[in-house]
């Protein structure tokens, strides 16, 4: 039995009449449009009861569960309410999910990032469900005058051994005076009925019907359309704005320069171009045409960089010892001097734009008294704070509502577009929707940094790994996680990070740092295993064995047993070791976002062209809340990883991005994706950990290692396709 402290108001139920709470009816409308042909729909709740921040119960038994965190396609809008529903003990088919707006009094950490929504929400969501179930039981026990312990629940019904029963909807009104106990009992995970059951995306029916869900779909009476023009190159700023060519164009209301940065910047305020030109008009096409027709004068402010400059600076950085090593164990210099064999390689990867399919956009309505911000944002709380600073309005006069997001991948952690919308609306004194073109989006910056990393490994005469050295460098920060594998498995170890400054802005991109490190490290490990004459899985398992039995250092940031566990699982499931003619295999294992992933990639060669036939993926992310959504995330991460490793790159000529749209920037296409992906989960009952990101990083190495088997060539530099090796 798990007892947890509750954090909710002791006076738990608020009675809300449906007449008074117009907003509450949204839940029902949502149900009508999304769950046709269910009997439950036949009756409309006359009254709703706000049980706590997460739960509303209708008097007819309908349950509305709020999903607190932003939905970017990671499917938390399904998974988080599933956790509440499990502890509440209701039938999932009676549950309606609503997206909560930003409310820091009711919710904590309303943020989509770091694959942490489920992990950090887990306990609070369970307690919310369990606390509500408790007070409903208590109300029934009181009404029947029986001990609480004799009152049980089953799918939204409360019953007593005497045969009495009542539904949650019927008892909800009597539960108004019940108090939430200070401690609450949570279900034994073995008794889970909703958690662990493959469950469809709650927004699926709306998505396939083309219903308005996304920020770009948001509309308001009297709303104007705004677009921005940012400087054409990193290092440039606006010199002069001449609006004469466009101000009389049809539908154009105003063209002006606008400053969009807050006085005090937070981490989420990364923006290379805080000063922009805004074009505001009546319809999108009119504004697009005016934007194109604008003649603007820019001037250079800082050096305009080329990709060659970045490459040279990163190469120098991986050749230069860092002043302060991130970690040092033993005596690496001596160990390398005495080594029987040394393997040394350098890996590199370019800048990557996020390229969410829905370009950046935001709705803002700013008046003298208040601001309403609505749109796709992974960090609503941070946006509100910065907007408060920019607009000169207190935070309690600013609301932020989240639409469904057409992808995030980290880009929408940085809410510059929300700030821009707010600044433009304030200037226009009107509701506006800001829309980026694809070109605006792709050339705006906040890219995954370009990276280089140098690895050295020393083997002794027994082909055991005795020393390991890693030095990474990146634009605005090095990529190395000093305390992760192979730290802890090798006696002499040195990890260093160097940073290269640039005016090209960088930010988090799905699985930050890991999205580069995993591909490099696990490709290198393949090469070291080969030099040692060992099977790549056995080689890694030996290292984990050492980390389990005699770990080096105490700060190791991973569990070697779980790491080994996923490797063993993928080994078994893929039938590793058996040779199939024409199939070339590569393996990789990686830990990030508190989860462990091991993958085997099978490459076949059709008419001289390698193609990924199958990816086998073993995952240890603890309890899998929604296996359907989980598999989808894993598949997406794998395809995303393969696609960007093969084709992704943004390069610069004199500060200008060379790729501006999908004619020059290549994203993976349907025919280039693996034919098949099969996922396997370790069943260990541990509390859930991240899943939106962990399947992406390792696949880059599993692909590279399989390609090596197929072609005889090691891949050191992304994108791989530039080496005339095409998949598909």
């Amino acid at each position: 039995m798990t007892l947890l402290k509750t954090k909710h108001n002791r006076r738990s139920f608020l009675k809300v009449s449906s007449a008074a709470g117009g907003g509450l009816m949204i839940g029902f409308n949502w149900l009508v449009s999304c769950k046709p042909a269910t009997e439950e729909m036949a009756s409309v709740p006359k009254e709703w009861f706000d049980v706590n921040a997460f739960i509303k119960i209708g008097d007819n038994g309908q349950i509305t569960i709020m999903s607190p965190n932003p939905e970017i396609g990671q499917n938390v809008k399904t998974a988080m309410p599933m956790i509440v529903a499990e502890e509440l003990d209701v039938d999932w088919k009676n549950v309606v999910v609503e997206q909560a707006g930003l409310n820091t009094e009711k919710f904590t950490r309303q943020l989509a990032g770091g694959s942490q929504s489920i992990r950090q929400g887990w306990e609070g969501l369970r307690v919310a469900g369990a606390a509500a179930r408790h007070v409903l039981r208590q109300a029934a026990a009181q009404q029947w005058d029986v001990p609480l312990a004799e009152v049980s629940t089953d799918k939204g019904m409360i019953s007593h051994s005497s045969g009495k029963s009542i539904s949650y909807g019927e008892i909800a009104t009597h539960a108004a005076d019940m108090e939430v106990p200070e401690e609450i009992e949570l279900k034994d995970p073995k008794a889970f009925r909703i958690i662990g059951t493959p469950t469809k995306n709650v927004d699926g029916p709306k998505i396939v019907a083309g219903k308005p869900l996304f920020g770009l779909d948001y509309k308001r009476e009297g709303m104007l359309i705004a677009m921005i023009v940012h400087p054409p190159a990193f290092g440039m700023k606006l010199k002069e704005l001449d609006t004469s060519s466009v101000k009389s164009m049809p539908g154009i209301r105003k063209v002006f320069a606008v400053q969009t940065a807050p006085a005090e910047k937070q981490w989420s305020d990364i923006n290379a171009f805080p000063e922009l030109v805004a074009v505001v008009g009546e319809s999108t096409w009119q504004v697009m045409k005016a934007k194109k027709a604008l003649e603007l004068n820019w001037e250079q402010e800082t050096p305009m960089e080329n990709s060659e400059d970045h490459d040279i600076a990163l190469a120098k950085a991986v050749d230069t010892p860092s002043d302060e090593p991130a970690r040092k164990d033993g005596d690496p210099d001596a160990a390398f001097r005495n080594a029987a064999k040394v393997v040394e390689k350098v890996y590199s990867a370019p800048f990557l734009p996020h390229n969410t399919m829905e370009p950046m956009n935001f709705f803002a309505h700013v008046t003298a008294e208040k601001a309403e911000l609505v749109g796709p944002i992974q960090t609503p709380e941070f946006l509100r704070k910065s907007a408060s600073d920019l607009l000169g309005l207190p935070e309690d006069k600013i609301t932020v509502d989240m639409t469904r997001m057409g992808g995030g991948f980290g880009r929408r952690l940085y809410g510059n577009f929300g700030m821009e919308a707010a600044a433009i609306s304030q200037k226009m004194n009107a509701p506006i929707k800001l829309i980026y073109t694809r070109e605006d989006d792709m050339t705006q910056g906040t890219y995954r940094p370009a990276y280089k990393i140098r690895y050295r490994a020393a083997l002794d005469k027994n082909n055991d790994l005795v020393a390991f050295q890693v030095r990474g460098a990146g634009i605005q920060g090095g990529p190395v996680f000093a305390d992760r594998f192979p730290a802890g498995t090798v006696s002499h170890y040195l990890a260093e990070n160097n940073s290269v400054e640039s005016n090209v802005s960088t930010g988090a991109w799905r699985a930050p740092r890991s999205n580069f490190v995993a591909g490099a490290e696990q490709s290198f490990m393949d090469e070291v295993a080969e030099a040692a004459g060992k099977d790549p899985i056995e080689f890694r398992l030996e290292l984990f064995e050492k980390a389990m039995n005699s770990p080096v250092g105490e700060e190791n940031d991973y569990d070697p047993a779980r790491y080994a566990g996923v490797l063993k699982l993928v080994k078994e499931k893929s039938g590793w070791g058996k040779e199939t003619p024409g199939v070339y295999r590569g393996v990789s294992a990686y830990y990030c976002h508190d989860s462990y992933v091991a993958q085997v990639v099978d490459v076949v060669v059709n008419s001289g062209k390698p193609k990924v036939q199958k990816v086998w993926c073993a995952v240890d992310c603890g309890i899998v809340v929604n296996p359907e959504g989980a598999r989808n995330q894993i598949e997406g991460g794998i395809i995303d990883g393969i696609g960007h490793a093969m084709y992704g790159a943004i390069t610069f000529t004199d500060g200008v991005p060379d790729q501006r749209n999908f004619d020059k920037y290549r994203l993976i296409r349907n025919s280039e994706a693996p034919v098949e992906i099969e996922s396997f989960f370790v069943d260990n009952g541990i509390d859930p950990t991240g899943l939106g990101e962990p399947s992406l990083p390792p696949v880059i190495a599993a692909l590279a290692n399989a390609m090596y088997k197929a072609t005889g060539k090691r891949l050191y530099s992304q994108p791989f396709a530039q080496k005339d090796i095409m998949v598909g």
């Binding site: 699926g204 396939v208 083309g210 996304f214 469904r404 997406g636 693996p674």
Partner: protein, 153 residues
């Protein structure tokens, strides 16, 4: 500005827009049909796919002046109750992640199945290569089209 009468989802609509306005923005801004998405504006990503007389086109790159009497079908008009065999298959396979590209994917797939009700794996891949899914749901998209095709036959 000029007045155009266009047929969208079986209904005649009058719009007063510049002749070079792409169908995409007529649908989204003037007819309130926002299921058709903006992705690139240069016919490279497929998010804006609609049918023009049953054939898949990129609505971001076809001006309203070029529509004439042709019938436009959008995701909202693909079926009456969002129950086209592909829409159902999309739900059955739980295809969407973020969901933004999926209307375009479904419209493109629907045009494929009209032309070729029993596409091979290769036919599906080739036909769907113009539609980018940044979340990487391609394996599920292929499976959904396959099962829709099987249900139709």
């Amino acid at each position: 500005m000029a007045a155009f009468t266009i047929n969208v989802n079986g209904q005649q609509h009058q719009v007063d827009v510049a002749p070079d306005t792409p169908i995409l923005w007529v649908l989204r801004d003037h007819l309130d049909l926002v299921g058709t998405k903006f992705g690139c504006g240069i016919a490279q990503c497929g998010a804006c796919t609609v049918h023009l007389n049953g054939a898949a086109i990129r609505s971001c790159s076809v001006p309203v002046s070029g529509v004439g009497e042709s019938e436009i079908t959008t995701i909202e008009g693909l079926s009456e109750k969002a129950d086209h065999v592909l829409q159902e298959a999309w739900l059955e396979h739980d295809v969407p992640q973020c969901g933004y590209c999926q209307a375009g994917q479904i419209m493109n797939a629907a045009a494929l199945l009209t032309k070729n009700p029993t596409p091979s794996d290769k036919d599906i891949e080739t036909a769907m290569d113009g539609n980018i899914c940044r979340c990487g749901t391609y394996v599920r998209i292929r499976a959904a089209i396959k099962s829709a095709s099987e249900k139709m036959s």
